[in-house]
């Protein structure tokens, strides 16, 4: 599946955050998008994930604008950001089973169990998330994003809170996704952790995306 962002513009109140950000994401790519604080990375991530409407421009999946097929588009995208997008009062398994069922993921429970085990969270599968540490929570966040084996992955600061072992597992999972033909965009400050798997790098500056040297 090809993700294409065409001249995305977004402003909040009187501040223009994105001018004409354009991007093309092909299967098998892992693109790193970096940029200064406040450059609009998270806003762009939310727009790519269809959570936020751009003021101008559009997002297309395989040539079809996401606004035309929103439900299908959302099910094709795995999104993680600094907001957990989980219910803290529920356990990891309950969260994943719930979201899996709603997203139409086949055998959601089994898939969830497998992911939690991979990310070493299976021992905590029945503990409400409110008791989790930052790093533990992040692992569950990533499990939710990867649950349906989505063809598009949009991960905003995925390494935040992860220790070295966690980062390595994430990289392994992303490499596997890549082999499956998934397209990933990683939004991250520090390029070191992502370096082993990144295929292309971009920079978000002045509301535009530029190819990084």
């Amino acid at each position: 599946m090809i993700l294409r962002a065409e001249s995305i513009a977004k402003r909040f109140e009187d501040r223009i955050v994105l001018h004409a950000a354009s991007l093309r994401l092909e299967p098998g790519e892992i693109v790193l998008l970096s940029g200064a604080n406040g450059s609009g990375k998270t806003t762009l991530a939310r727009i790519l994930a269809t959570l936020l409407q751009p003021d101008r421009g559009e997002i297309q999946l395989d040539g079809v604008p996401v606004s035309k097929r929103r439900s299908a588009a959302r099910r094709a995208i795995g999104f993680a950001t600094h907001v957990p997008l989980l219910y803290l009062g529920l356990t990891p398994m309950e969260n994943l089973a719930f979201f899996g069922e709603l997203s139409g993921v086949a055998a959601a429970r089994e898939r969830a169990a497998a992911l939690l085990q991979r990310l070493k969270m299976d021992g905590f599968a029945d503990m409400p998330l409110v008791h989790f540490s930052r790093g533990m929570l992040q692992r569950v966040v990533l499990s939710r994003a990867l649950l349906g084996d989505p063809p598009i992955l949009i991960l905003d600061e995925p390494y935040a809170g992860l220790d070295d072992e966690g980062s390595a597992t994430l990289n392994a999972l992303l490499a596997e996704a890549r082999l499956r033909g998934a397209a990933t965009i990683l939004i991250a400050h520090d390029r070191d952790r992502a370096a082993p798997i990144v295929t292309r790098a971009c920079l978000l500056r002045d509301g535009r995306i530029e190819e990084a040297p």
Binding site: A9, E13, Q53, D206, G207
Partner: protein, 236 residues
């Protein structure tokens, strides 16, 4: 879009303000000098010449907000949001006038400042609801404010007839049903209504002009910023 309004708009604006000014002056003078003093209530009765037109303008204003809301939801054009919000602001002002002049009149006519009878209750509810509209609108920073405002404009207006009917049913009406006036009083009332309606249009124009300029300024800033940064190595 440019910050310069089209010529015909500015001509009409001048015309409307002139008309509003003239009509208001004429109606105020008529109320003061020409309108007969009512036998029972005395001069206080003349509040009705402000009260009734204000109520009519309020309902018209909120009706326009309702229509603009539907138009915005259908077309997503910012101008409908601007019309709806502007109309609602002006409506609030007139609604407040109604809420202030009403009790002043009521004290004299019914010997009480307030009573929970249908028209007053419904109007009070209307006042609260549309105050809520502005509170909500002010709290939302981004352009989604337009959708939310449109929805509020529609939902609140749709609800009003039901609220009105329910309260009427519940209480029975004390407020005069129709304004039955004859002769000169009627004429002056109609004049006042015309005056305040034109005034409403004039203020609406001003408010829309402000929105237009704001949108224009933002588009210009956007265009300028886009032009300033050279396009290098854009990932197409």
């Amino acid at each position: 879009m440019t910050a310069q309004l089209p010529g015909w708009w500015r001509m009409c604006a001048i015309g409307i303000w002139a008309a509003a000014g003239a009509l208001i002056a004429w109606s105020l003078w008529s109320v003061a000098a020409r309108a007969p003093v009512e036998a029972v209530m005395g001069p206080v009765q003349k509040i009705v010449y402000i009260h009734v037109p204000s109520a009519i303008v309020t309902l018209l204003a909120f009706g326009i907000t309702f229509a603009a809301g539907i138009a915005y939801l259908a077309t997503k054009q910012w101008i409908w949001d601007a019309v709806g919000a502007a109309s609602c602001e002006i409506g609030m002002v007139f609604a407040t006038v109604v809420m202030v002049t009403g009790p002043l009149w009521a004290r004299s006519a019914w010997n009480t400042w307030w009573t929970w009878e249908p028209r007053l209750t419904t109007f009070f509810i209307l006042w609260i609801l549309y105050m809520g509209y502005h509170l909500v609108r002010a709290s939302i920073r981004s352009t989604s404010r337009r959708t939310v405002s449109a929805i509020m404009g529609v939902v609140f207006f749709v609800n009003l007839p039901i609220v009105w009917k329910s309260v009427e049913w519940w209480r029975g009406s004390l407020h005069p049903r129709n304004v039955t006036m004859t002769g000169e009083m009627r004429e002056i009332l109609l004049l006042s209504m015309a005056a305040w309606l034109v005034f409403y249009v004039a203020v609406l124009e001003r408010r829309l002009r402000l929105e237009w300029m704001r949108e224009a300024a933002l588009s210009e800033a956007d265009a300028a910023a886009s032009a300033a940064v050279p396009l290098k190595g854009v990932t197409a």
